[in-house]
Symmetry: C2
Subunit: 338 residues, 2 copies
């Protein structure tokens, strides 16, 4: 069905279910506050592969395989996979899912990828265009550092506003008519760029995108922050989270302070794990969502969660060319099964 | 509606229309056999910008703006843009569409991007999830060469099987209930990898993906190649086109020889323009489709065109790590307005 509600939001009356999901993380993520929530914690970030890129692919394949198993599905039942990652040409995903023989749409949304893949999966299943979809993504600290910043061996200093790319993958199986946490609405964001040029301050670049999508969603649905148990952003970190709260108060008169959480703040114990402004990377929000959050929605501790994934759409080349950082945020409304 | 037909194909009973489209190309493309078909031919591949990446963004923005104008639409009417490109983190697209303030889903499908964006746009409008969508993509010879191969200044020799990345962008406006060429079916492909490792022979890597999607589509729809005026691949070039014909005959007993064309073969005069195996790049099939092909569908010289975009999902990193080349092909069935 997918009924347009207001200008930007799609209500999904068939309430597609997340029938299975899985989160697979690296060693550092497994030492954080959510350690007990994950399906698998690797003690070796190479996962026994010969490169970090191959390790990332293995991690995403593992997350998808576990999610399928938990949902009781096989690849032959999957009509569509929506997935992507941070690596150039999204090789974490294409090599990870190679050989699984499922129809595949590659996405690029940087750290907003999990929200984009969930939103597209939910719309496809709600409209009947697909029976079963998979949403998945991954990131790896070591593959991201050397691609975006510096070789690890260089030992570069990190700025206080920088975020730590999570070594993590998350995957969810979305099914029309299934049981599990429901996706009852979706919103696709618009590119926002307020001129931030510091590639070590992604939170500041992404906060305006999160603010735009949250404000649009609340307006479209005539709802207030207090109508949600949680408004969950991924991954603004501490700096971006403060800016988001400030932007929403000052520009939209919206106060999310009572219900806001951020996956980048939740994944690590920020003071002790030396991650500066918090976690980031496609896998950060995917892993937090597909473990801790989904379990609480299944157990009805959380009944309505507005998940807003945020992505910075820059590249090292655009930064070298003096460009500012465009960002985007997509969202899905997750509700506990009735 | 989007009714599943067979295992992989979606029939689109509301027949979404391409109400406007535009193709913008560079100098070399404007000297080829399709010179008179394009909306704009740039005489300077920098487009007056300070880098080739910025030129590519400008080209994609120009194609989208022209397509909107021809469709009589403004960005405020657009519910969704599906777009992507070849550049790392898809900056051709994110910087090109920045400031247009339209909901945006970033795609990565390499040279299959135009078919993926058209297929998703058509499904979204057919199901009523969106009223108006845009599908767009771009590529630029100079930004692609230095990213994927060598700096232009190096003057490297090209192998006989290599293809020439088109400097081109194409965009289409897709609307439920509009008039124009119709998208009456869509198919999303699966990743195929037969072990080709030569990054200078993309045609060989992509031919199995094209064969798989074409065979699936024909089986799902119980149709034969002769039921189409054209089966149009993009962009296999001469080497990949021969391999596709051979694969389909030997493995599927399907003979497409009477109806097959390829955007990579059509864009250039191959012997005289020194493009070796033909054109490639996201913009190649986008520009050929959004000019020459669409005009002939509008004028009913072509009534049924099965467009199969093909993409090689490798990166320079995966090649350096000794990996083979996964590829994918997505398709849409285009039909003349009744």
């Amino acid at each position: 069905m997918a009924i347009r509600q207001g200008r930007y939001t799609l209500a999904l009356p068939s309430r597609p279910a997340i029938t299975g999901c899985a989160a697979v993380v690296g060693k550092k993520e497994g030492e954080g506050p959510l350690a007990d929530e994950f399906d698998s914690v690797s003690q070796d970030d190479s996962l026994g592969e010969s490169s970090f890129e191959k390790a990332e692919s293995a991690m995403q394949r593992d997350a998808v395989t576990r999610a399928l198993n938990k949902a009781g599905e096989t690849p032959e039942n999957v009509d569509m996979v929506f997935a992507g990652d941070l690596l150039n040409q999204c090789i974490g995903t294409s090599f990870g899912l190679r050989g699984m023989d499922m129809p595949f749409a590659g996405l690029y949304g940087a750290c907003s990828t999990m929200s984009l893949s969930l939103a597209l999966s939910a719309v496809m299943t709600d409209t009947g265009a697909a029976g079963t979809c998979i949403a998945s993504t991954s990131s790896h600290f070591c593959s991201a550092e050397r691609q975006y910043r510096l070789p690890l061996e260089y030992g570069g200093q990190r700025t206080p506003t920088s975020q730590w790319t999570a070594t993590a993958a998350g995957a969810a199986v979305i099914k029309g008519g299934g049981t599990g946490p429901r996706i009852t609405a979706a919103i696709f964001g618009k590119i926002q760029d307020l001129g931030i040029k510091d590639a070590n301050n992604m939170g500041a670049a992404m906060a305006p995108a999160a603010a735009s999508t949250i404000a649009d969603f609340l307006k479209d649905t005539a709802s207030a922050p207090t109508d949600y148990d949680m408004i969950l952003t991924g991954d603004l970190g501490t700096v971006g989270s403060s800016l988001l709260a400030e932007l929403l108060i000052k520009e939209e008169n919206i106060d999310i302070s009572g219900v806001h959480s951020d996956c980048g703040v939740m994944l690590y114990d920020i003071p002790s794990q030396d991650v500066h402004a918090g976690g980031s990377g496609c896998g950060c929000s995917a892993a937090v969502l597909c473990s801790y959050i989904m379990r609480r929605i299944r157990e009805k501790q959380l009944k309505r969660v507005l998940f807003i994934g945020t992505g910075a759409l820059l590249s090292p080349t655009s930064t070298l060319q003096g460009e500012s950082i465009p960002a985007i945020a997509h969202g899905v409304l997750l509700e506990a099964d009735a």
